[in-house]
Amino acid sequence: MSSKDLSETIKSVLSDEDDVRTATAPYQAEFPYERDEEAQVTRREFCNFLGLTSAALFVGAAGFAAKAAIDARESVSHPAAAIAGAETLAPNTSLNFSYPTERDSAILVRAIDGSYHAYGQKCTHLSCPVYYSREHHQLECPCHEGAFDAATGNVLYGPPPRALDAIELEVRDGQVWAIGRNASEPNRG
């Protein structure tokens, strides 16, 4: 680019700046501020800003970890609840229920051998409700084709990162009771 072109470019840019200043002059009168100083952020200031951001991110991470550690120490006990209709459930079928609260959906599976297993119904991938596949004898997620073992709740394949929440069961006088709910782990042993 020749010096003539460069000088013409500079002139046109400066004239644009003058035009903007002229157009915003009434607003400048009402809300005056130093335009030139406002536009300048020094490298030092930006570096300091990044340092503060780094500190904030570190404090945030430490805060979340501390809260999780405190929550882990609190043992949460859920009251036992009878699962209606569990005794009449046929083998290789499932039953939906809620435990420990109405908002916590769960699924009870009666395996082919007659044993009962219960899990939280939320898929650990993106919380879609899982269903029991009688054909494959496993719990499947319809959203992203994940699957869980009906006996352990472990991930068989697909995107889910960890096993389903396990619900502890107890048979009392022929009736099936849910007595506790355990958070999921990467995969149970």
């Binding site: 570096c47 500190a55 991110l57 570190f58 970890a65």
Partner: protein
Amino acid sequence: MKPLDRRTKTGQTAVWQARLIMLVMINIAQLWILAATVDAALARHYSVLAPLVVASGVCFVITVSIIKWWRPTSRRKTSTGYVREDR
């Protein structure tokens, strides 16, 4: 104080740019670490929380060291107090 020559100013600019780039990269890494920490905390994966917090702390320490101790080499006095001779 002697006015800075062109090479000195170019060197200072390079150091400042390097600092900014490194700080931005470290901030982005800390954002990832924070997202992983939140995910692990909500999923109750307590075993990975400590390493994540340590990693974030290391990033913060590196950030502080870059801000506090990195200096353009053209300055007459170094961060350790050594006084260079005039050219």
